[in-house]
């Protein structure tokens, strides 16, 4: 039995049919076609599939898709505005904050949730924000540095 659901994805209205009990990760990837969202554990432990639901970071692999009807969902695919990259994306590029890149979309969304809520986070705030996102390549420090580059609220990289 499939259930029709509607929500906003990166500012656009989308509608999809979800299998009964389907999780948001599968619906975004298979039904909607947003492949920027990655699955890492499908059990809510690695943070790879992190998306923002109404501004809050959520693990899409353990989020019931039907429960997302009417919400506003943000993914890494919606970070850039046309040709312009989001400052977080630029900071990740400049800080070598990705190697294999698989955790990066989820990591970016966890960081965006933090900066949207707190434009001037401390290192402690950053650690707290990404502590649920596992990265096996970088050792985290380049990611922390990239996020802290934006910690000033201006949205521009500090010199």
């Amino acid at each position: 039995m499939k259930t029709p659901i509607q929500f906003h994805l990166n500012g656009e209205e989308v509608a999809a049919f979800a299998d009964g009990g389907a999780n948001l990760l599968d619906v975004l990837r298979e039904a909607v076609g947003d492949l920027s969202v990655k699955g890492g554990c499908w059990q809510g432990t690695c943070g790879t599939c992190t998306v923002l639901i109404d501004g809050r970071p959520r693990l899409s692999c353990v989020t019931l898709a039907e429960g997302c009807a009417g919400t506003s969902i943000e993914t890494a695919a919606g970070l850039r505005r046309g040709a312009d990259l989001h400052p977080l994306q630029t900071a990740f590029m400049e800080r070598f904050a990705a190697q294999c890149g698989y955790c990066t979309p989820g990591m970016l969304m966890a960081a965006k949730a933090l900066l949207d809520r707190n434009p001037s986070p401390t290192r402690e705030n950053v650690l707290d924000a990404i502590c649920g996102n596992i990265c096996r390549c970088t050792g985290y420090e380049p990611i922390i540095a990239a996020i802290l580059d934006l910690a000033g609220g201006s949205g521009r990289r500090r010199a």
């Binding site: 499908w42 400049e94 070598f96 698989y102 390549c137």
Partner: protein, 528 residues
């Protein structure tokens, strides 16, 4: 800030390394930060089917009976894949380079040899349907005694893990049950050593835990070929392995990969492609075979555990005069790449130190554990852990500074290694000097002045040999110069003025253009 010490490493590279020490960007970073990098699972196909496998719950058991009739009738199931369906069911990864015997089935037939070994495949319209069908398969097992210890596995009468290697050791060149290294006479040196220290080191298996699990999608192409999107780290190696197992010419396979969601060595074993291709052949549809996180952590091959015994003979003056290593590499139930790890391990003994008497025996041992695989310097990393712990313990035993102890024993240009090759381009002493400086670790003057370029023959001329430490003239050890703290009191040559160019290295070999070639031959082509 990184710096390239051309004064030390000039021979290693011909290029100027203009990028070292400067920030740079990955060529694939834009795709990563925009979520557009295409991993194997980011390709979409109509009518995609899903393969999942039944795995053994026992580490060692005989399969008495197997009933998959309910699974064949389960909703969404398109095909059951049994061992008999696999064209070449027995394989070993390094058979591609004629190294080792085929010892591992794609799907177990009569016996399972590790917990998690694949037995049966189900292809269905969804992963969930495949798993639900697998839950209906009834298997009756006769559990067999399981072997989990590398040393017990070598005892006479031990349970045999793998019938291809009934003695539980990999066979090198068809006849040797381990790899040996012999240099000098360790037993005689132990008898004369001031201190003999023997220690045991045990590593644990380590899971790579990539954020993307192993997986692949095999897609029938319009021309009879199969396009395979895969997470593999070893694209052509996996292609050839898949071709062998499926008994098809390799030009019928088109592998697409390279964007890997973390590997670290855990994606070189061709775990999924052969069965995904077989499933695509048998169903005519695209088939994805993706490991769950549970499968990746429990059954994806880990770094193998190693047990290493090191026995060192050390003189009070700091010289390591003998080193005996006995090591057991836990390969798990099948060979995969562990036979090669053992070769690397032996090649690395006795570490970067000039030791005149070396004796090593290293075994590749089969146990009923998950088969091991490559991971970040496998074969070498664990040995280095053991060797460097041992160096610390040696230093403590004779009351010497651990860093100076290493510098004293470090390879120098012109030394003869235990493998009977001349040491060249040595820089351990210089690295230790830089590390000591950065860490504010006090080094005595003679160690601050020490150089890898000054061969031991030159030192012999400069520093009188104390009578208390007679020069060893044992076979294979002519280059070792005795050292004693008393030598520090001997008149030393004046130190080079700061900033001066290093002394013309007398022992440095000509033809530095070969440096880059040698560098790439060692590090460029075997990185895993």
């Amino acid at each position: 800030m990184l710096e390239m010490r051309k004064d030390i490493f000039a021979d290693e590279r011909d290029d100027n390394l203009t990028e070292v020490g400067r920030p740079t960007q990955r060529q694939d970073i834009l795709g990563h930060v925009t979520g557009t990098s295409a991993y194997y699972d980011d390709h979409r196909f109509a009518n995609l089917l899903h393969l999942q496998v039944l795995r053994s719950p026992h580490p060692h058991a005989r399969i008495r009976s197997l009933d998959d009739s309910a699974a064949a009738r389960a909703p969404g199931v398109k095909r059951i894949i049994r061992a008999a369906d696999v064209p070449v069911n027995l394989n070993t990864l390094l058979s591609l380079i004629q190294f080792g015997k085929d010892d591992e089935p794609s799907l177990a037939t009569d016996v399972v040899r590790y917990r998690g070994e694949p037995i049966l495949g189900v292809v269905a319209t969804s992963e969930r349907a495949a798993r639900e069908a697998l839950a209906t398969v009834r298997v009756s097992y006769d559990p067999l005694p399981a072997m989990f210890d590398v040393e017990e596995a070598l005892r006479p009468g031990a349970v045999s893990v793998n019938p291809v290697y009934p003695k539980n050791t990999f066979e090198y060149y068809g006849k040797y049950d381990h790899q040996k290294l012999r240099f000098g006479d360790v037993e005689a040196a132990f008898a004369e050593a001031d201190t003999v220290l023997e220690e045991r080191y045990q590593m644990s298996p380590i899971e790579h835990a990539p954020t993307e699990t192993n997986g692949s999608i095999a897609v029938p192409d319009t021309n009879g070929r199969f396009v395979v999107y895969t997470s593999t780290q070893a694209l052509f190696f996996s292609l050839d392995t898949a071709a062998k197992i499926n008994a098809m010419p390799s030009n019928q396979l088109h592998f697409i990969g390279g964007t890997v969601g973390g590997g670290f060595g855990g994606k070189v074993d061709t775990l999924t492609e052969p069965l995904a291709i077989l499933a695509a052949r048998l169903t005519g549809s695209p088939v994805r075979y993706r490991l769950s996180r549970h499968e990746e952590m429990q059954f994806g091959s880990p770094r193998g555990a190693e047990r290493i015994y090191i026995k060192d003979g050390v003189m009070r003056d700091g010289r390591v005069v003998a080193r005996k290593v006995t090591a057991y590499f836990d390969s798990g139930a099948y060979t995969r790449l562990s036979s090669y790890a053992v070769v690397k391990c032996v090649a690395h003994i006795p570490g970067p130190y000039t030791i005149p008497n070396v004796h090593a025996d290293v075994f590749c041992v089969f146990t009923n554990r998950t088969p091991a695989t490559a991971m970040r310097g496998f074969g070498v990393t664990a040995l280095d852990f053991a060797l460097e712990c041992q160096m610390d313990k040696d230093a403590v035993a004779i009351g010497m500074d651990p860093l100076e102890f290493r510098m004293l024993n470090a390879y120098r240009d012109g030394d003869m290694k235990a493998h009977r090759r001349e040491a060249k381009n040595c820089a351990l002493i210089e690295c230790a000097q830089v590390a000591a400086e950065k860490a504010n670790w006090p080094l005595r003057e003679e160690f601050r002045r020490m150089s890898s370029r000054v061969g031991r023959a030159a030192t012999r001329a400069g520093a009188p040999v104390p009578a208390a430490a007679p020069a060893r003239t044992r076979a294979g050890s002519p280059q070792r110069v005795p050292y004693d703290r008393a030598a520090a009191a001997a008149p030393a040559p004046p130190p080079a003025p700061p900033g001066a160019a290093p002394e013309p290295p007398a022992t440095r070999h000509a033809g530095s253009t070969h440096g880059a070639l040698r560098f790439s031959s060692v590090f460029g082509t075997r990185r895993r």
